[in-house]
């Protein structure tokens, strides 16, 4: 074996560490959460870490994660697509560069600072401008039940929406820019307006990539911890069930952040929290793999075409 081969296998081995990490992670999470894993763990709603009367059911937190991420997607994805369309199809060159940079800064802000801002500033925006009108006019609907307070599921969902915008919009922009120009020219030649070109020629062509970009955003929303922990109100047990958007809730990630250091190692409490981590792991892995495959497919087309 030559020196070159040694080098090749050495760097190959190093790069294999990432696969090993992922593999070890699932193994370890599974090993420690085994004592609590059961159907009752996933579908139970009670949460009681007191030794002697221990009970661990995580359904409210699974639903909390689903509801907050759904809000984030409903609000964040259209905004991100609008930004991506503007940046790739409408903006003049110098505006495109500056704006892309600004949006990327949004991604660089640490999540604990989003949380701080959410806790002291954004929360009042949500309460005054969104929740109070909703509660006044649509308060009879069960999902808008309760006193608007600002530290609740809706605020958590909206802050997640802000946080997924950079991810979704920058990947979507890449996808849109990968659409070959012949697509646009064909529609222009039929006498279409710009919007028609975008709708018929670009968006329909890039659909799967855009879905992939959105799913990538979903992955971020599902795993986001700090900002959510600071604004969601941190309810525990049956009261954490997300029956109204104006209620304090809890997501899987925020539950782990809140309770991990207080868990008594002689009880099953740490194991239950690690179990929540395992569910989060499986969820994030599925979402990310799906997104990667969908984004890849469309970006690959770019490499194949000659422009």
């Amino acid at each position: 074996m030559s020196v070159d081969d040694v080098f090749k296998y050495f760097v190959g081995l190093i790069s294999f560490l990432s696969v090993l990490t992922l593999f070890l992670m699932v193994l370890e999470l599974f090993r420690y959460s085994l004592p609590v894993l059961s159907l009752k763990f996933i579908f139970g709603i009670n949460w009681n870490p007191v030794a002697g009367s221990e009970e661990y059911g995580i359904l409210p937190y699974i639903l909390g994660t689903i509801v907050t991420s759904t809000i984030a997607m409903i609000v964040g994805v259209p905004i991100s697509l609008g930004i991506a369309i503007y940046l790739s199809e409408m903006a003049p060159n110098f505006i495109r560069k500056t704006l892309s940079f600004v949006i990327e800064l949004l991604a660089a802000v640490p999540s604990v600072i989003y949380g701080l801002w959410g806790l002291f500033i954004f929360r009042f925006w949500v309460k005054d401008f969104i929740e109070e009108p909703l509660s006044k006019y649509l308060g009879f609907l069960p999902i808008f039940e309760g006193e608007p307070f600002g530290l609740d599921i809706l605020t958590a969902g909206l802050i997640l929406a802000i946080m997924i915008i950079p991810t979704v919009s920058s990947v979507s922009r890449e996808v849109l820019m990968a659409v070959p120009n012949s697509q646009r020219e064909a529609v222009y030649s039929l006498g279409a307006t710009k919007w028609e070109v975008i709708k018929v020629g670009v968006l329909s062509y890039a659909k799967s990539g855009l879905v992939g970009a959105s799913i990538l955003g979903l992955g971020r929303a599902v795993g986001e911890t700090m900002a959510v922990t600071m604004v969601i109100g941190n309810a525990v047990g049956p009261s954490a069930l997300p029956t109204s958007l104006f209620k304090a809730g809890q997501t899987m990630a925020s539950l782990i952040a809140n309770e991990f250091n207080e868990a008594d190692p002689t009880t099953l409490h740490p194991n239950a929290l690690i179990g929540v981590g395992l569910i989060l792991f499986v969820l994030a892995l599925t979402i990310n793999l799906l997104a990667q495959v969908m984004v890849w497919r469309i970006l690959k087309i770019k490499e194949g075409t000659v422009e």
């Binding site: 990490t21 930004i83 600071m230 994030a284």
Partner: protein
């Protein structure tokens, strides 16, 4: 076919919608930068940068221990993460056109978007439990798992930008492949590699969740590898949840320090790439 003016109107509405979206995204960023500066500036003074926090509930004291902790974490993490990231990037760029390479690339992409709190639990299980105490090392390992995929990706991309003629020229001189990669290709691409390293440092400096179960946070300066340590992000979180006005102000001050660190790393990194490769 619809009337022309309706089609034109739709076109204008689409344009207006997109502009609204831009505004909606910029408002939070503007507000965050404004509030952090407004509330954080009054907290800054000499004590703030030289002292650790006082007793809980007592005003005064600073965040020097948290700044120290964050710097130690950045150092330790880079020590672990940079070599692994750069070498993995070399593999993917130079030999990675195989099934094995594709699997590595996919894994890295998945890890890059992975919930950091799960990575924190993992570091807790493999480091904190065996050694029996919270440790800066556990924090660094968790952060390195976040750092490596970022560096791997940027290293791979910048090595691929190096034209093949440079590799061929070097090998035509009889220089071995590995030496060519290390001394010629890597050196030509160093701007991009350094950019990736800076971006990854900015990312890990802002991480909080994985630190909760690895370094725990503490009142004191660093005192050994088997003891808890503080970090800026953890300090901001704890201060924000305290019911005291002074604590909130210190929290905003710490946020200002953190955001300046993170954003300047980002801005410098982008500037480096822009001048070199015209992205």
């Amino acid at each position: 076919m619809q009337r022309y003016w309706i089609r034109k109107l739709k076109d204008k509405m689409a344009y207006a919608f997109c502009l609204t979206c831009i505004v909606l995204a910029i408002v939070p960023l503007g507000s965050i930068l404004f509030e952090v500066t407004k509330n954080g500036l009054p907290a800054l003074n000499i004590d703030f940068f030289t002292k650790g926090p006082g007793a809980i509930g007592e005003p005064g004291g600073g965040i020097a221990n948290s700044i120290q902790g964050t710097l130690i974490l950045i150092g330790l993490t880079s020590l672990i993460g940079v070599p692994i990231g750069v070498l993995s990037g070399i593999y993917l760029a130079e030999f990675g056109n195989t099934q094995f390479g594709r699997i590595i690339r996919l894994t890295n992409n998945v890890l890059m978007q992975f919930p950091s709190i799960v990575i924190g639990i993992f570091a807790f299980l493999i480091v904190v439990l065996p050694i029996g105490s919270f440790s800066p090392l556990a924090g660094a390992i968790a952060l390195a798992i976040i750092m490596v995929p970022i560096i791997t990706r940027t290293t791979e991309e910048s090595l691929k930008l190096v034209p093949n003629s440079i590799r061929e020229a070097s090998m035509a001189l009889g220089i071995r492949r590995w030496r060519t990669i290390v001394s010629v290709v890597l050196v030509s691409a160093k701007g991009g590699v350094v950019t990736g390293i800076m971006l990854s440092i900015a990312r890990i400096a802002g991480e909080t969740a994985p630190l909760i179960m690895t370094i725990l946070g503490s009142q004191w300066f660093f005192y050994g590898f088997t003891n808890p340590m503080d970090a800026l992000t953890l300090r901001i979180w704890r201060l924000a949840l305290l019911p005291y006005e002074y604590a909130h102000q210190t929290g905003w001050g710490a946020a200002l320090v953190l955001i300046i660190l993170v954003l300047s790393l980002n801005v410098i990194a982008r500037f480096l790439t822009r001048s070199k490769y015209k992205v």
